[in-house]
Symmetry: C2
Subunit: 424 residues, 2 copies
């Protein structure tokens, strides 16, 4: 974690050199020459000694981000942990991160509240609506347990009605009409993942957002909250174009930032329907109490967080963009996922493996099941240095994630390890 | 931030040597020999180049804690950021921190929920009560703006009544009867700081908790939420003996841990009155949904946080205990505060300074006002390397904090800097 690690500096120089030599031939070869990816991967310590396919759980933290954390701790101690100088520096870091995140999401910094994780963003929205008994919340049948638990808390507290729309296994084209069918006169919120954590399927958000807007209600309009745990850092994104109201994300999965930094996008037109719930000094402008809270999305931020990690996420974002555009990264993820899907298909013909997707995947998340209990299989693979995750019932199985950082050889190693495990 | 910093190792050895040589003569001299404190202070980078008197804002982070953070990042990358091995290690770190915190507070680990900061703990309690319109919340007139903002949100959302009990400037003996006088038949929660952030006064919690328990209500009993931002790490504590219901604290002020790690104590008997509000996977036991949430205070934890910082707070706590007991640390804080109070008294006779406490202080927080605007004075002092903070209206002034880490010479330097500023 040393800032002055000479090995790190050498790697940086190597990467810079490769980037320069790539620049001229880029149009011809694309960004993914093996040499360049290899140099890029060397910046990720977690990728060096294992086959890491758990990006949907947590991404590997690049060395420049770790160095940024070390640098930030030193800077804060030098300036004074609580000081005008230190607080000014920290606010500058937060401002920069908001700009960097906004660029990735195609939006403005004022629409971004910084949080600690996806769940916090979801909870800010779930609890921020002025629920009345009998109001309706619609979710899909593929949502994450943490979100389900929060919604169950809401239901008990406010006496709202909750129902699930069966999107699992359906086609993308059917999704928006299906959501529209399940809306009710008192539906106030639709809660949906952009990419389903347990299937890797994509929800067609633009059509669903349009269906929500078009739906006539007895009261306020239907709002759309998106759990973006698996989409941010994987898909090229333009949130205003998608038309979603609230989009909760984290930096520590596909963006490979540090755990503990995430955010919430709030569409300006949807801010009026969302009161801050948990609240403290970060929501308050300098002229509080004359002004109750910030005019922008900072009103949803709460209190002290791990400031030194802010610079690390900015650093990770810069690193990804150095390697390629969001579109280029997604294209590579998708082609690797298709390769993995094909390999699983070959395995399917000779073992008890069931590949869950019948069509080629559109995201970097693939799931399958075997005769073996998923948790056991995952443990056996981890012992061989191959990292995937077990999914709980009702969609019990194994989840494999490929990133643009993934190598084809890693997929081959995973398939070989899996084949061996299934033969035992 | 290097783990292998030879200078750090040398400092550690020096400290260990001094601790050994102190052991025999400790009873005679107390723990605060100048040599030993000097070696101890060298572990705090932020104390080296300044007169730091802002412990109530944020404490300086000791080098062993910074090294623990670096070590944790390396460990997580080595084990696999999302892996059985990595998650197991992280849970072990959290378990250890819960034990260490519980020891400091005189309680059991099961009563401790880990949070990111004091405000989160306060919000968990404020929003966790099943408020009915017309219920009453009593607070003091010395509470922190962030807490006031959260309470204002509650009032708007649930139609509760909020009133303030005038504890500022009153004597400790009068406080409990005054609180009792302000309780109503429908009071459900009293919100109070243990040490007031803007005056340094101590609330006599044991008597106040007893008054709350003795109060007859129309419904559930009156619960007591304590904002412990300034008391944890300053006072020797035994929470079960105090009889408080909820005690929200942070590690990054008087405990000198990293920003972003704090906690909430929940008295087991008061857990039934407190539902989780913001919630996600950390609240859920392995057999969820059969069991709705953890049986202990973990039910109030939310989701992914900055795990690598957990070990750093454990490290900071160990360091303080190496130096002296909670009682010894508090005694030193108090004697330094009395010295500071006396020096301010001398200054009072020759300048426009008004010392806010008329009696010798009982805590490490002192406040005063001068003819100068506090924010300007604080800036002038910061430019000279002296760090204190400005307090906003209605108790506008300057706050100075002394820690057991503070030197008498630093107080002298502060007084000299202040004298010079007031003469200009």
């Amino acid at each position: 974690m040393a800032e002055d690690d000479p090995g790190l500096e050498k790697k940086r120089q190597l990467l810079a050199q490769l980037l320069r030599s790539e620049a001229s031939k880029r149009d011809a070869t694309g960004p993914a020459t093996p040499e360049r990816l290899s140099a890029h991967r060397e910046l990720f310590a977690a990728l060096q000694n294992k086959v890491y396919l758990n990006f949907g759980g947590q991404g590997p933290l690049p060395q420049p981000a770790i160095a940024a954390i070390a640098g930030a701790y030193a800077e804060i101690q030098r300036r004074g942990p609580f000081s005008n100088s230190g607080l000014g520096w920290m606010q500058q870091q937060m401002g920069r991160l908001r700009i960097a995140i906004a660029q990735e999401l195609g939006t403005q910094p004022e629409t971004i509240a910084l949080t600690e994780n996806v769940s916090l963003g979801c909870n800010i929205v779930l609890w921020g609506i002025d629920w009345q008994p009998g109001d309706h919340l619609l979710l899909s049948d593929c949502e994450y347990p943490g979100v389900l638990a929060a919604i169950e808390g809401l239901r008990r507290r406010f006496g709202i009605e909750v129902s699930a729309c069966p999107l699992a296994g359906g086609s993308e084209a059917e999704a928006a009409p299906l959501v529209a069918e399940h809306l009710r006169p008192r539906t106030r919120l639709v809660v949906l993942s952009h990419i389903f954590w347990s299937t890797g399927g994509i929800a067609p958000l633009k059509a669903i957002a349009a269906a929500c807007r078009a739906h006539p209600t007895e009261g306020p309009p239907v709002r759309l909250l998106v759990d973006a745990a698996q989409s941010v850092g994987m898909l090229p994104l333009d949130l205003p174009d998608l038309g979603v109201d609230y989009y909760a994300f984290t930096g520590h999965k596909w963006w490979c930032g540090p755990e503990g930094v995430g955010g919430l996008y709030v569409r300006p037109e949807a801010m009026g329907d969302l009161q801050p719930t948990f609240s403290s000094w970060r929501a308050l402008p300098p002229d509080w109490p004359d002004t109750a809270c910030w005019p922008d999305a900072r009103r949803y931020e709460i209190a002290t967080s791990a400031w030194p990690l802010i610079a690390a996420l900015s650093s990770a974002l810069a690193l990804h963009n150095q390697w390629g555009t969001a579109h280029e990264r997604y294209q590579r993820i998708r082609s690797l996922a298709i390769y993995l899907w094909e390999q699983l298909g070959h395995l399917q013909s000779s073992t008890a493996l069931v590949r869950h997707q019948s069509d080629p995947p559109e995201t970097g998340i693939l799931t399958f099941s075997t005769g073996t209990a998923p948790a056991h299989l995952v443990q056996v693979l981890e012992a061989q240095g191959i990292f995937v995750r077990a999914l709980p019932a009702p969609r019990a199985g194994v989840r494999v994630c490929v990133h643009y950082l993934t190598l084809k050889e890693e997929i081959d190693k995973f398939i070989a390890g899996l084949r061996q495990s299934l033969r035992r």
